[in-house]
Symmetry: C2
Subunit: 421 residues, 2 copies
């Protein structure tokens, strides 16, 4: 098939008419399809039901029902230490969401600093945000009035030349990273990028990288990506305190009722514990015990994730196949086929993502708000769309993907015709 950019005006008009006819047929069906959020589907949730049959209340001699053990039960710390490849003394078990750990850590930096001056006392605080990225990171930063700076993603991670330049500004206090199967592109940072991050010498003394390892075991491909453990290389650069890592079982067991963990240096752990000791007596240790008992070790977690992959890989395939079939040769879109994670990132013709979102909505397909993958909800090129294929049943997903492709093509035709005026 010819690329759209090589179409004549008449060809574009004819193409648009045909697409609008297909689009109209879908609209007439009054569908209600949702590809907006990275939510596990019901079958995935059912994989962990046996977790609720774990009824052992004594863990390492401690009654987990009662007060105490501020930083988590030993068995759960051990499990996360193994998963993250750090020492148990570098782990704090968190609440049901790593998002809360990140919010609370930024809040702590804001009120008490990451090591020296509280950020609320600084004239200006800026953060680097690899884009496209995770909207909820941006929401946290915006809540605290932290200025966000877009850093372009490359196929191997954030553009490190840009990062190295930006960190010369002492107002730049940190960076958010999703280093494995990044949200939304599914990119895993290369060893070289991880090393360059570990080696940063920022002007801000207390620069912090929030290492959101949300998809640490969320492989889809038979040959999954491997991420260099940044804590293994930080000491080479004397930067042990620069990275704070979080992860959770939200997409391993239950999104509403998982267990999260934070991994950090001794200094950072001590500062976090100081705050934590004022904030709680401990997080939910019964849930920690359920998770420790259900999984026992990291190998069991990885086995469990294969069951998830068996359910959701076909869904990714449905979307990827449809994208390839509809858009493969038109020269109007690019997308990722990730080896893991929860999303497919679709870049449509610049200036048309908003229109694609509107067309989808009118046809009953809810996408992640267009622009959400950028700070302040503003995609400067109006081109990125995050597709979340895990939640809808396969038949619905197939229909939603087809409508999306039609919308992408309609918006491109419209744009090209407009440009041809």
């Amino acid at each position: 098939m010819t690329k759209y950019c090589d179409f004549t005006k008449a060809q574009l008009e004819s193409e648009l008419a045909a697409l609008q006819s297909r689009y109209g047929e879908f609209c007439a069906k009054n569908l209600k399809l949702d590809m907006s959020r990275g939510k596990p589907c019901t079958q995935q949730l059912d994989l962990s039901l046996a977790l609720n049959d774990c009824h052992n209340y004594v863990s390492d001699g401690f009654d987990v029902r009662n007060y105490g053990l501020l930083d988590g039960i030993p068995a759960c710390k051990k499990l996360f230490a193994e998963l993250l490849g750090v020492g148990e003394q570098n782990i704090i078990i968190g609440p049901n969401s790593s998002l809360t750990l990140m919010f609370d850590y930024i809040s702590q930096c804001f009120t008490h600093g990451a090591g020296s001056t509280p950020w609320c006392k600084l004239p200006k605080v800026k953060f680097l945000c690899p884009v496209p990225g995770y909207d909820r990171h941006f929401t946290i930063l915006e809540y605290f009035g932290i200025e966000m700076i877009n850093v372009p993603m490359t196929q191997s991670g954030p553009d490190m030349a840009a990062v190295e330049e930006y960190v010369k500004d002492s107002a730049v206090q940190g960076m958010f990273c999703v280093p494995k199967y990044s949200n939304p592109q599914g990119i895993t940072y290369s060893d070289s990028v991880v090393r360059k991050i570990a080696a940063l010498k920022p002007a801000a003394a207390d620069f912090r990288v929030i290492w959101d390892n949300a998809y640490i075991v969320h492989d889809l491909a038979d040959e999954p990506d491997a991420l260099l453990n940044i804590f293994d290389v930080l000491p080479e650069y004397g930067n042990e305190d620069m990275v704070v890592e979080v992860c959770s079982t939200s997409k391993i067991t239950f999104p509403g009722a998982g267990v999260s963990a934070i991994a950090a240096s001794a200094n950072n752990i001590a500062m976090i514990k100081k705050r934590l000791g004022a904030q709680t007596i401990s997080y939910d240790k019964m849930n920690q015990q359920r998770h420790a008992e259900f999984f026992k070790n990291a190998a069991a977690v990885k086995q469990h994730m294969k069951k998830h992959a068996a359910i959701i890989k076909p869904k990714f395939d449905i979307v990827a196949t449809r994208l390839e079939k509809e858009l493969g040769t038109l020269g109007i879109a690019e997308w990722s086929v990730p080896n893991g994670g929860y999303f497919i990132s679709l870049d449509v013709m610049p200036g048309t993502a908003g229109q694609v979102g509107r067309l989808c909505k009118e046809a009953g397909v809810v996408l992640t708000s267009v622009g959400a993958t950028f700070p302040y909800g503003k995609d400067p090129d109006d081109k990125n769309i995050r597709i979340a294929p895990t939640y809808p049943p396969e038949a619905e997903l197939a229909a939603a993907a087809e409508i999306l492709c039609i919308a992408v093509r309609i918006a491109a035709c419209e744009k090209l015709l407009e440009n041809a005026k």
Copy 2:
């Protein structure tokens, strides 16, 4: 028996020798007894074991295992609304600890204000602390560098004349209250005090009362105390936004794994939700569902609390009986016999509480750190001791109470002899 103050020097010396002999016998036993924290005992924890057999995952049509429902599941909001006597729209369900709700709310006020200026931007923030009070309230305030002002407790609540005077200072931004069965004295605020609090006209525009209703259903007596619902009277004074109430099931079901709730005005709920939307996707809704299913309504919660009372009332009686027997006529101590809550507050001879704590420790009895019931850990009269009778088995508690009484008497004799020099 004669009061110690009427003893001659020789009588005091003889009394001290006899007490030291009794004390020595206990020391020789190498006991290890703990009356330090308000922890439920194992039998109390067992009362709620069936909560873990609640395996219904769909609540009001919503799969509680997945993301969503930021402010809690409807069934749980309904339960807490009934318990607290407010509308469901005034409830947000929190994490496993109301302490976290209080910390997070103060943190929110610090970074974003309670309505206008963020407290971190103010030159000085002060808080009123009824004393003796709950050490963890003081820890939160100290973490944020908020200056604490002691307000004496009376038998009907905080000294309101003092409060009314203090709130004329615009730096005074709030007050912590445990209005029912106060920690540690077990005092329930009178209707008149509740009304005076509701009627406050503080100089600070965004003055906030943190109404920590920790012992709302924690009755011990057959005729329990009744607390006026402050939300019923706040509108009379146009002060709907002044009070933020919290409670939890920590001492109803499981201290490590309960559910907490916050009750507040529409304005405050909106501000809290704004922060919450950046901090989490929702708290643990599976645990909310377990609690909603286990209890169903407020009446069931109150029935459940009678089972708790049956276990712990005899423990309170053991301590009260021992205190009366050993100290009743000596004129050296006063204490509360509360109708509910978790503590007995003991005031020993001024200047001797620290020595009592040391003597207890040497004899193997751990008390709440002496001074902990005051801001900065400083009891100006060195006289208050918080006794937590719920956790130890009855035999241990009896021994601990006896040792405590001996220590109180020894310290008093020593003091009187020292004064007689």
